[in-house]
């Protein structure tokens, strides 16, 4: 074949020389390398006891956020459900009643908010779509479970603990205790 460019570099494919055909030197060389690995630092970690640090932008399990006063931030605009390429998010909106101002930040809120974790592909587009900082992906994995039904996370599963009433739980969820 005629060369198409002037950047060709032929790979070295010379036939085996005498030492290589002997085969024993190659075995010794390989053994030296593999044995030297015995003394190297172990690259694995003992997972449940030891955990590797995630990057701050890691896309893990979803969290529905609250504001400083413990009110739900979500206003049920539905952008996350629209942006979801896996169609994993379902929501129903409701209007805030006069006595509920300490529960919901805006006049409209999500009465039902479900994420099907078996459909979710953790692409992070819902977080990007949220105009209210109400949903974000945390640094944990979705825990394993036994039935498919349990992977449909409802609003209660997703909501972050209330900073006012459940301060301890919140600290625990953020990994700040012990």
């Amino acid at each position: 074949m005629q060369a198409l460019t002037n950047r060709v570099k032929q790979v070295n494919r010379s036939p085996m020389n005498f030492w290589e055909r002997l085969y024993l030197p190659a075995i010794l060389k390989g053994m030296t390398i593999t044995f030297s690995h015995i003394f190297k630092k172990k690259p694995t970690i003992n997972y449940p006891e030891e955990k590797r640090p995630f990057s701050p932008v890691f896309r893990g399990l979803h969290v529905l956020n609250r504001d400083e006063e413990g009110r739900e931030r979500c206003t049920a605009c539905g952008l996350c459900a629209v942006a979801c390429p896996a169609e994993a998010i379902t929501m129903e909106s409701a209007e805030r009643k006069p006595g509920e101002t300490d529960l919901y930040r805006e006049e409209k809120y999500a009465a039902r908010y479900e994420i099907n974790m078996l459909r979710c592909i953790f692409c992070g587009l819902c977080e990007e779509a949220c105009p209210k900082d109400a949903i974000y992906l945390s640094e944990t994995f979705t825990p394993a479970d036994f039935t498919r039904k349990k992977f449909i996370y409802s609003k209660e599963d997703l909501l972050i603990p209330n900073p006012l009433t459940e301060a301890e739980k919140l600290a625990e969820a953020k990994g700040e205790t012990v």
Binding site: M1, A3, S55
Partner: protein, 409 residues
């Protein structure tokens, strides 16, 4: 009586079959993916091989017809999942070609870094899996530790490791953090040693050479007729590389060579991939140097200035009405894409990964076709393995770097 127990009597008129039919796959540890080959064996020799496609067909092209452009990126992740950032970037560049967006130089260089990292991980898997199929598991484990370094860089940039969904139309979703650059430096210093070690374990090892030399050869002419691209074509001796012939993402600014083989057998493919990893390393070094040369405001650029397609910053969305409106418009997919027809290809981990996008002016593509190199390589499989030993057929398969997710799309 004893005689009859050993001899099964065939029905009258039936012809005794001289060959064995073997189902290699769809779930077989040696196929590394959902491939099915129905091989006809005469002893240990392959008489013919019939390939089946479609076991993990997910209708990506059809799904893409109902999705706004930004939601198609997660689909491309799942094609060649060994180098998903290349697919992501390729898709974004296709959109940019249709939308006539010009990206700043810094974005191009950042993309080059990511794409070359992805190429290294892709070739790393392929080369080490050839060794696994030849019976040497150790080199695979040694290099996997260093693939982890690359995945940590991805995680630092986009938050995910395998299915990255990295970048947006016009650039990246966020600027690279300092940690990402530190990790990149770590990779650049540590990786050459590992690659040397990997090569010294395999390249001139007699067992490996005996196993791979002459396994699944293809001539340049046949390869071109099949439509081979990428390392598999280069191993056959044709120096075709999309990065040089139709440069994208400022590849023309970089100095690198095209390694080519001669016979197109598994050993050549292995050598070409290994050499390409060195070239990729040199490209990353050059790109990293170029990025460090940016000063002032230029050094913070990570996306093109296209407010119609690139989401406004989150602080503005929370506080300003105008930004919030644009945010809604973009996410809802309410911005019509201009009508047109573009073909764009990148040099993927496996070969020329092409995107053919037809738009009739709606919110979604009218038609989208992915040119997946694996699909094309797999057509040649029966010709490559005809007459070879069964064990060679396995090595041929892994040296073609067939990825089921890409083949079926």
């Amino acid at each position: 009586m004893q005689e009859q127990q050993h001899h099964i009597k065939l029905p009258d008129g039936s012809i005794e079959k001289q060959t064995t039919t073997l189902n290699l796959g769809p779930t077989h540890p040696a196929t590394h993916g959902v491939f099915q080959n129905i091989v006809e064996l005469d002893g240990e020799r392959v008489v013919s091989a019939e390939q089946t496609v479609g076991y993990i067909h997910r209708a990506f092209e059809k799904i893409a017809e109902r999705r706004p452009l930004y939601q198609i990126t997660p689909l491309t992740d799942r094609m060649n999942y060994c180098s998903s950032p290349i697919n992501n970037m390729g898709w974004h560049m296709t959109c940019e070609k249709l939308l006539k967006i010009k990206t700043p130089k810094r974005v191009d260089y950042l993309r080059v870094i990511i794409m070359e990292l992805a190429r290294i991980t892709d070739h790393l898997i392929c080369s080490s899996v050839i060794a696994v199929d030849a019976g040497a598991f150790t080199p695979f484990l040694y290099v996997m530790q260093y693939r982890e370094l690359v995945y940590e860089i991805y995680e630092e940039i986009c938050g995910s490791r395998l299915t990255t969904n990295m970048g947006r139309i016009g650039g990246f979703e966020r600027n690279f953090s300092n940690t990402a650059f530190t990790k990149l430096e770590k990779f650049l210093t540590e990786y050459p040693k590992v690659l040397h070690e990997f090569e010294s374990l395999l390249t001139r090892n007699r067992i490996f050479m005996d196993r791979t030399i002459g396994a699944g050869p293809i001539s340049a002419e046949r390869a071109l007729n099949y439509g081979f691209t990428g390392p598999n074509l280069r191993a056959a001796g044709v120096d075709y590389d999309v990065r040089i012939h139709t440069p994208y993402s400022s590849y023309e600014d970089f100095e690198f060579q095209i390694p080519v083989g001669t016979t197109g057998d598994s050993y050549d493919r292995f050598l070409v991939r290994n050499r390409e990893m060195w070239e990729s390393l040199s490209i990353i070094n050059q790109a990293y140097k170029k990025i460090q040369e940016f000063k002032g405001a230029e050094a913070e650029v990570y996306h093109a200035d296209v407010p119609e397609y690139y989401l406004p910053p989150k602080e503005d969305v929370y506080t300003k009405m105008e930004a919030l409106i644009w945010h809604f418009k973009i996410i809802m997919g309410e911005i019509d894409i201009p009508p047109g027809e573009v073909y764009f290809s990148v040099e993927g981990g496996n070969g020329e990964l092409g995107f053919y996008l037809v738009s009739d002016g709606g919110r979604t593509p009218y038609r989208l076709h992915f040119r997946r190199p694996c699909f094309i390589y797999y057509q040649a499989y029966s010709e490559l393995t005809k007459g070879s030993m069964l064990a060679d057929a396995i090595i041929t398969m892994s040296s073609l770097n067939l990825i089921a997710g890409e083949m079926d799309a």
